[in-house]
Symmetry: C2
Subunit: 430 residues, 2 copies
């Protein structure tokens, strides 16, 4: 079986994921070699500081700070540096030299995926990035291959563990967002600077990747509408629970069917889900991706969205698959963006909203508020009014309306003298 | 893009799945061609009777009863006949001629998978069978590729929709097994002869396939221990509910780690799961596969396990993936059975059991019963005794013990004069 020469593997990065990848490659090398049909030789591990403290003790002689030289001699480059540069340049150099590439770098794939895929196609090399979305969960390959004969209608994913942990704690423990974030930080689920997670940037990168794959269309990161969880209040969580619902931050990638052809939309924002929805049962920092396809119906993929060993599993799955193809011969497949669908502006996306308002408690206010909705052609499905202390609390649920119309209603509400405050805005998913 | 010549697709079978595959190939041919990089030409549909009534109207000129001739001219053969022959011979002929094969035939793959894989490897052809397990759910490819760098510890799947529907109804509606089966038949979830489903034969075929993939080891169908659901009573369902549990028929494929090396076990039987287990939330005829791997941790794959369009989605995913590789060039990958682990006899598998007994209501009986457990070295974890009408009802939960010891205890209990009846035996999963 091992008549094929060794494959030279260059590992870039030895953080929590990289250290685990190195450990498994070194400890289970024989088993992996048998699966590939050739030995996998870890020729070096590129790091910034060879003396840094690491999760796993790694052979000193494998560590190097000369990443460019390491990449130049490799058959497969496994990139776990994160960030755009130097990762992008190193991988473009590797591909130009005919090496295959495995990366877990969602920011890089979201921002420069098409450039990498094009560089790979030019030389017949492969790029794999299963670990970039959903950590250990197989989702890239299922979308790319298993659903290749179907028509994906929607992908809705809990793809950021930090924000799921925070929202889950707000529901299960009644925590405030601040307290839940503090717990997440203490437990290592949140970074010292949590902006990328709680403002939805991380989820937006993943939305770009999922939408591009699901719809065979390049969906640039700039086209992803993004809202984080910082606007989610305890009161919104309690209001959701009163109606049997749960708040989740989700990445939604959707095919919008229209007379002028299909368009796609990718967006990240909190939603309110019925507690019976499969995604509502995704607790703590777990991830799950719920896919609806024309023929397959509803599918869900659930598991650990982060963590060193967990993410290493996805990286090594890519590495073994890519190495098998390397040994078998034949080029990697090109990325499929042939559909090239138009991207719908966020204003034209349809959703049901629930708005919480504090309004003056005097006659005619409800009529005035209702009038604003009618003026912007948004149909109100449900109203609940509770008396307050000199003011009243209104919760209005809308029928499906475009985001643009809802935004106009919100603007008009904010400007209305009888509306004291807009307390909450949440989108409802059935 | 379509400079490559057409790929000639032969479809065998035009039942509920085959008719949908034909429809989608004919209706979405352009889209699929773009994804493959070459037109997919459906050259014929092999059927037993060209005049039979079908779910979808198919072009008469494509129907043929001459399956051997159809296969002889194809680049890819899609086999949806079911059963062993003539499917086996037709596919071996196709592979010998260098054609690639897609099949949804779990019985054939379970019984003759190694023969088909060997025939494919000889000529560098591909065999894909995503639809053979879990219908629309991507599970074959994730096990084969995404988890290729990990070490799978256990696969536990609800892989038979009929039995899940029946057990779910027994829980949610309090139905008897007979009534639930009648409903399943009326709704089209059960065949006129339901034996293959309710006796666990269907699930056992799938266990063979899953175990072989997960452990890189040939696991013959004859090595799969099989129990169906016909022994599940209303009383067992009620007893499970009293303790916050749910009964499910599962296929369990497990790596048993031992001093003398790893062994594997594949078995199908009902289990009692905590209602908080992700598999407990799989209702109606849905399927789900719960995978535990060393690095990845727990993963779950959920969706429709049967149905014409749903299963067609998996078949077409295979077809597009295989056709892409056909166009790109390079051989298909061989099946990986290098690990070649020993298969553990069922007697040596470990489990926790809960036994329900009706015993004589007189002094010393509990001591006698407990003595039988001790005699066979099975440790009792919990006992509940309820008085009955002249006899008593005993429910005993064991600590982990081998199946062999439990079988010996059951034999001894059945022979004991004070034991009137063994009411239930169920395995507990945590």
């Amino acid at each position: 079986m091992n008549s094929y020469r060794s494959l030279r593997i260059a590992l870039l990065g030895a953080g929590s994921v990289g250290a685990q990848v190195a450990r498994i490659l070194l400890e289970h090398g024989d088993e992996l070699a048998a699966r590939v049909g050739a030995p996998l030789e870890l020729v070096g591990i590129g790091v910034r500081d060879v003396d840094a403290k690491r999760d796993v003790e790694l052979p000193r002689e494998l560590l190097t700070t000369d990443l460019a030289t390491l990449v130049a001699g490799a058959d497969v480059v496994v990139e776990l540096l994160g960030g755009i540069e130097p990762a992008r340049t190193l991988l473009l150099d590797a591909l130009a030299a005919g090496a295959d590439v495995v990366t877990a770098n969602k920011a890089l794939v979201a921002a420069h995926g098409p450039e990498l895929f094009q560089a790979a196609e030019t030389v017949g090399a492969q790029v794999a990035y299963e670990a970039a979305v959903g950590g250990a969960i197989p989702i890239i390959r299922p979308l790319e291959q298993s659903l290749a004969g179907d028509r994906v209608l929607r992908v809705m994913g809990i793809v950021n563990g930090t924000t799921n942990f925070i929202l889950d704690r707000m529901h299960t423990e009644g925590s405030t967002l601040e307290d839940a974030l503090a717990t997440a930080t203490a437990l290592g689920y949140a970074e010292a600077d949590p902006t990328a997670d709680i403002e939805g940037y991380d989820a937006a990168s993943k939305a770009t990747i999922l939408a591009s794959l699901a719809f065979h269309t390049e969906v640039p990161a700039a086209c992803v509408h993004r809202e984080g969880i910082t606007g989610v209040t305890d009161a919104m969580v309690q209001q959701a629970e009163r109606t049997g619902r749960v708040l989740k931050l989700v990445a939604i990638c959707e095919r919008l069917e229209g007379d002028a052809g299909d368009r796609v939309s990718a967006r990240v924002h909190p939603v309110s889900l019925p507690s019976t929805h499969p995604l509502a049962a995704v607790h703590e920092a777990k991830n799950a991706i719920f896919v609806t396809a024309e023929a397959a119906g509803d599918l869900m993929f659930y598991g650990a969205g982060a963590g060193g060993p967990e993410t290493a599993s996805a990286v090594l799955g890519d590495l073994v698959s890519i190495a098998r193809r390397h040994v078998l011969g034949g080029p990697g497949g090109p990325a499929s963006t042939h559909a090239d669908l138009a991207i719908a502006p966020f204003d034209e996306v349809l959703a049901r909203h629930e708005l919480g308002l504090t309004v003056a408690d005097r006659p005619g206010v409800l009529a005035a508020v209702a009038g604003l909705f009618a003026e912007h052609d948004v149909s109100v499905e449900s109203v609940r009014q509770d008396p307050g202390d000199g003011s009243a609390s209104l919760v209005l649920g809308t029928h499906t309306a475009t985001e643009g119309r809802i935004a106009a209603v919100l603007e008009a509400l904010a400007a209305h003298t009888d509306v004291e405050r807009i307390d909450s805005v949440i989108r409802l998913i059935d």
